[in-house]
Amino acid sequence: MSLEKFSYDNRTVKWFAYATMFWGLIGMLAGLWAAIALVRPEMNLGYAPVTFGRLRPVHTNAVIFAFVGNGIFMGVYYSLQRLCKARMYSDLLSKIHFWGWQAIIAGGALTLFMGYTTGKEYAELEWPFDIAITLIWLVFGANMLGTILKRRVAHLYVAIWFYIGTWVAVAMLHIINSFEMPLSLFKSYSWYAGVQDALVQWWYGHNAVAFFLTTPYLGLMYYFVPKAANRPVYSYRWSIIHFWSLIFIYIWAGPHHLLYTALPEWAQSLGTVFSIMLIAPSWGGMLNGLLTLRGAWDRVREDAILKFFVVALTCYGMATFEGPMLSLKNVNAISHYTDWTIAHVHVGALGWNGFLTFGILYWMIPRIFSTTLYSRKWANTHFWIGTLGIVFYAIPLYWAAFTQSMMWKQFTEDGTLRFQFLETVTSIVPMYALRALGGLLYVSGLILMIVNIVKTVRRGSFVANEAAEAAPLVKTAAAYGTAHWHNWIERRPVQMVILSLVVVGIGGIFEMVPTFLVKSNIPTISSVKPYTPLELHGRDVYIREGCYTCHSQMVRPFRDEVARYGDYSKAGEFIYDHPFQWGSKRTGPDLARLGGKYPDSWHYNHMLDPTSMSPGSIMPSYPWLFDNNIDNAKTPAMINVMRKLGVPYPEGYELQAKADLEDQATQIANNLKKDKLDIPANREIVALIAYMQRLGKDIKVTADKN
């Protein structure tokens, strides 16, 4: 059989590699800035786009979808071609994929800075971007599947399975979590409300970790670690078992993000059980990767690439041990809402994703530029700075988490809370300073790598189309018997499963969405009423400023939380919350029962300068809320959208909404005037105060009546 000549497309790989480094730097600098702002709140600059609440989503989205995202595509485009012995299916699709993804990132970052957000963690981008992501993801899928179908190697190497799994799962997760009803070009409301929205969001959120940060990187690991070590993977059979077990278990673990919340108990337990099971396949993969280096440990001493891989795999092992532990309810009771979560994800992100990406870049760039790395010494220096960075990042945060959680839960002998919330924050600020130092070290390492790679690129000569040759795949499907229409599809397994997935998916969506939309909005607590028009506007401000990045709205049923915040939260309280705002981290106190706790004037002063009300507070100030007006031209549309989503505003209420809004705003403005605070009633701060004063109050109405 004659060999076919073809070439590998290195140009797309190169572009994705550059994008990985560029967005990595941007995303990590945003993170560093946010970390410093927790120590020195003046870093918020009193300027809306760079306050913590907006910078943090920019950081998380940039690091996950821009840095790791481009890293995935870089690695997939490089390895898939070589594993399939085929050029990528279509150069045009590669180009659309690359530029489309970069456009989404740039536009996404810009809109996040401007405050356009859905308010759902890791899915903050607004609806036009959600559609664009879906389209580009389809382009990526078509390009990948096309390459797989025209492959010249019959066997699909395990890495390819990881890529396929990633693609299918992310498509499904993204689409289902992104159901939202547009209000305007850059504003929408989640179709789901309250506890249901929370469940969908964390089903998505956890699987974003599983299928965006983990499975594609395991695929890359199974290609690049053996290549860099020049040794076959320790056990190929193990890798196959690892893949299939991981893929079947991961998708059910999401509810562990909602332990002790208003989510039904059985769903919480389901999440915990699957999370604990996950340790087996996760550690299987980790050990398989590490054992691949058997007999090559002497090279690990000198080779920075292998060092990066060893630490990446070790961090993966630590994070996937910690994950199941954090899913135990008794551990979660301590860890949740603290910096433990932040430390946990950063061991994964900095260690596993970051270090694996760096190792791949150091290994791959010289190859596609047919040269050697400019400085191996710098790469080693990068390794040590980066490792120190991870240590300085994680350990202070673990310390801070334990300290703060223990302080929250302490009572005096008289049975009152021992510490004010603010005291628990100020006592861990020094730890935040050390964490920022860790971040600084890590970013410095990244910059050193970029310089090293630029110098490598300069002295190399780029091989845009790498020549290769391989024998074509023999078609083994032989025709036998009389052809039945079903034979056609039986011989096309890939098309068949995709077809069935599409059928099942579309059928399921059309059947179920209306059902739960209608039923889910039957109020379970009769005193819980929809938000007033002014409160809706205030809620939009709350979402826009990313208040959920530091404040939860979910009181867990613990003695200390009930003593500190009030009665624990019930599922029925959130049925009009599109989207839910439970949050996942308490850098500030919980706000679920904030309504009526302080006078309007307190909120006014606090939002203008938090330290005036709470000396030592690290919260940013929000001066622009006192200058901007709410857009009450939108009010009727907001009421209509909410009604479509099932919030029971009476028919025709949108016509009356504006008048109600003005009444309530005037009332608050008058309240403020009594305290000598003069503000026009149409300012955003008035709406925000209205929303904050409503929080958690409905349920108190019944309690008072009884």
């Binding site: 699909l156 020049n230 076959p232 079947f248 290769a468 069935s500 399921g508 739960f516």
Partner: protein
């Protein structure tokens, strides 16, 4: 909590997809040889440069 039905449906659809893929991969003989694939990926550069 009707949304659980949607999530279960979606998760099961994905699971079924993977189950079908798994059955296909076994029937296709993908796993009959679990030795050479691990080694084959290491050798391609040499053939490329011929």
């Amino acid at each position: 909590m009707n949304v659980i039905i949607l999530l279960l449906g979606a998760s099961l659809a994905v699971a079924l997809f993977f189950l079908a893929s798994f059955i296909w991969s076994v029937k296709d003989g993908q796993y009959e040889d679990d030795f050479s694939p691990a080694h084959r990926i290491l050798f391609e550069e040499e053939t490329d440069k011929e």
